[in-house]
């Protein structure tokens, strides 16, 4: 098998070949490092990676190969490489959160999910690009340049986790870790033709994920197949005593659900408020096609209404910045990260903090911090933050009522396909609208999955289908998702990414640029 064929396998297929001794982890890891070197760098590179962790990844791979040769019992995914969103802290690799303020910072501790990745012996390929502090829907707000969409290098890969999604779509990694506060795993998944899951709030420990909005953030898997996400969530999920909001439920049964292979008799609800007006025609078409396939597979499709979802975006843009303004207060140039001295006037710590944060944060981060400071300030708290928390209750009630009627809910993941780089950069409100369908899940804490639903007729770009399940019922997403995936792939004659353009090597371009 050539290196190019190897990297196009699913993670579970890679795991099977490793277990069968057909390939080594060093071979597999090296193939991905070569792919990164080939397509990631340079002016027209994907720019999915902010840091490539070649040495450590190969050392872990060699260790796995040695252990396997010695007959040691290994984790199912041992030796399968993975990319890590650079919002998650890692020992031995820099963590930047996509921000200048953390440039060069090395965490002295590992996130809980990283400890689990290490325990499973999965080589970490490196850290992936993101909107600064995960604030954005296009990865254009990264201080280290935007990531490009492998389907069209002039388009956005979604955000904030554009780096993880693009890395997986460009075969630079079989899967990756993402974080999802309002759709940062699912919306990039939709616009890059990949799979991504925001687990139930608390199903995966947040310890070591640099917080944006604590009550909304969740780490989750990014992959090319539904089964791969299920396998990865089983690795990273489960109770963590270092996270007080962590659920005690064991992280099991997800891959089994993905392998179940039927949806006969399941009730699937279309959310009236999450399609139609405001959704691109090609998105609507692919969505309707998926409904048809599920119906043909024996599922019952009904329509449900979630009337308060109309308030979700507004409430999200009060709660998220409020929590973010507080979580980002620690970036002050005292204990870690960059320090900037004021260029004029007295040199006091207050001024140094003010100058550091002015120079270290980008515009979108400042916008959200100021908005959050406003929403929490005396006199406005009840009208803004308080009201938004009430809306949260209403959204939860809408979900509860809907799940009385159906087993899972379905909607398009993003109202539009990937837009052009720079197109919405100066219009924050237009940018915020990209998350309109993904935000309700974060507000209520329920799990959501996106999978590719085909290509939009008008632009030939990927469309995402979102599935939502009740809290703690993540398995249902994998069950329905895997069935829909197989029905769609049967129609396409293979994975959607087979239809993506071949990426030109940028390695020589990068060398010439040097």
């Amino acid at each position: 098998m050539t290196a190019n064929e190897l990297i196009r396998l699913s993670a579970s297929a890679m795991a099977a070949k490793l277990a069968a001794g057909e390939i080594t982890s060093v071979e597999l890891t090296q193939a991905h490092l070569d792919r990164i070197a080939d397509v990631d760098h340079g002016d027209r590179g994907v720019n999915a990676f902010l840091h490539v962790n070649a040495e450590e990844a190969l050392a872990v791979a060699a260790d796995v190969d040695a252990r396997r040769a010695a007959g040691e019992e290994l984790h199912e995914l041992a030796g399968v490489p993975i990319a890590i969103k650079d919002l998650i802290v890692t020992k031995g690799q820099p963590t930047t959160a996509g921000s200048k303020i953390l440039e060069g910072w090395m965490s002295p501790y590992d996130a809980t999910v990283i400890k689990k990745i290490r325990a499973a012996r999965m080589p970490m390929l490196g850290k992936t690009n993101l909107d600064e502090f995960a604030m954005g829907s296009s990865t254009e707000h990264s201080a280290y340049g935007p990531t490009r969409n492998p389907w069209d290098l002039d388009r956005i890969p979604g955000g904030s986790g554009g780096g993880s999604a693009a890395a997986v779509a460009a075969f630079e990694a079989p899967f990756a870790l993402g974080t999802d506060t309002g759709g940062s795993i699912r919306q990039p998944g939709a616009v890059t033709g990949t799979v991504g899951v925001k687990p139930t709030y608390g199903a995966v420990s947040r310890y070591g994920a640099i917080a944006m909005a604590s009550s909304l953030d969740q780490i989750g898997p990014v992959s090319r197949t539904v089964l791969d996400s299920a396998l990865l969530q089983e690795v990273i999920g489960g109770h963590d005593p270092f996270d007080s909001t962590s659920l005690t439920d064991p992280s099991i049964g997800l891959a089994a659900a993905a392998r179940l292979g039927n949806v006969k008799g399941m009730k699937i609800g279309i959310i009236k408020e999450l399609h139609g007006e405001g959704y691109q025609a090609g998105v609507e078409n692919r969505f309707n096609e998926s409904l048809e396939l599920l119906r043909s597979a024996g599922a019952e499709i009904v329509e449900v209404s979630c009337p308060n979802f109309g308030y979700a975006l507004g409430a999200y843009y009060l709660i998220m910045p409020s929590e973010a303004s507080s979580n980002l207060a620690k970036f002050d140039g005292v204990r870690f990260g960059m320090r900037t001295l004021p260029t004029e006037g007295p040199l006091t710590i207050e001024r140094v903090m003010g100058a550091t944060r002015a120079a270290g944060f980008g515009d979108e981060v400042k916008r959200r911090i100021i908005l959050g400071t406003y929403a929490l300030s005396a006199g406005y708290y009840d009208a803004y933050y308080g009201s938004a928390q009430k809306v949260r209750t209403l959204i939860q009630r809408d979900f509860a009522a809907a799940f009385e009627q159906v087993d899972v809910l379905i909607s398009p993941t993003s109202p539009v396909t990937a837009f052009k780089l720079g197109e919405k950069l100066d219009d924050p409100l237009a940018m915020y609208l990209n998350d309109v369908a993904t935000i309700p899940a974060n507000m209520a804490g329920v799990p959501g999955l996106t999978l590719p639903g085909g290509l939009a007729d008008e632009d030939g770009l990927p469309v995402g289908i979102q599935l939502l399940a009740p809290a703690r019922e993540d398995a249902r997403l994998y069950r329905v998702g895997a069935v829909l995936e197989s029905l769609l792939e049967a129609q396409w004659g293979g994975p959607i990414l087979d239809q993506a353009p071949v990426l030109a090597s940028t390695a020589t371009v990068a060398e010439e640029a040097n």
């Binding site: 909001t245 409430a315 003010g354 944060r357 406003y374 209750t393």
Partner: protein, 98 residues
């Protein structure tokens, strides 16, 4: 709800410890006014009888036993510091010279 103006933004920037130029304050005031306007319907969405939700999944009494765990070495603790001296983090003067 009151509209957000330049002075408001200046005060918020001070609370948030972000130095901003006059241009930046103007731009931010315009953007925030639009954003605040777009989210104002939220305050009318729910009545007084609707309780707030601060945590998406309700849990209670998550506590830890009083048992000593790991510590960082002094070197690790200071490893990311922009400035340090004598095993401590070093910061510029807190008060202005008077």
């Amino acid at each position: 709800m009151a509209a957000i103006n330049r002075d408001d933004v200046a005060h918020l920037a001070q609370l948030a410890h972000i130095e901003m130029s006059d241009d930046e304050l103007d731009r931010m005031a315009n953007e925030l006014a639009l954003i605040v306007d777009s989210v104002k319907s939220v305050s009318e969405a729910a009545g007084d009888d609707v309780p707030t939700t601060s945590h998406p999944i309700p849990l209670t009494n998550v506590m830890r036993e009083d048992v000593v765990g790991h510590v960082l070495t002094v070197e690790e603790a200071l490893s990311g510091a922009p400035d340090s001296a004598d095993g401590r983090f070093k910061v510029p003067a807190i008060l202005e010279e008077s």
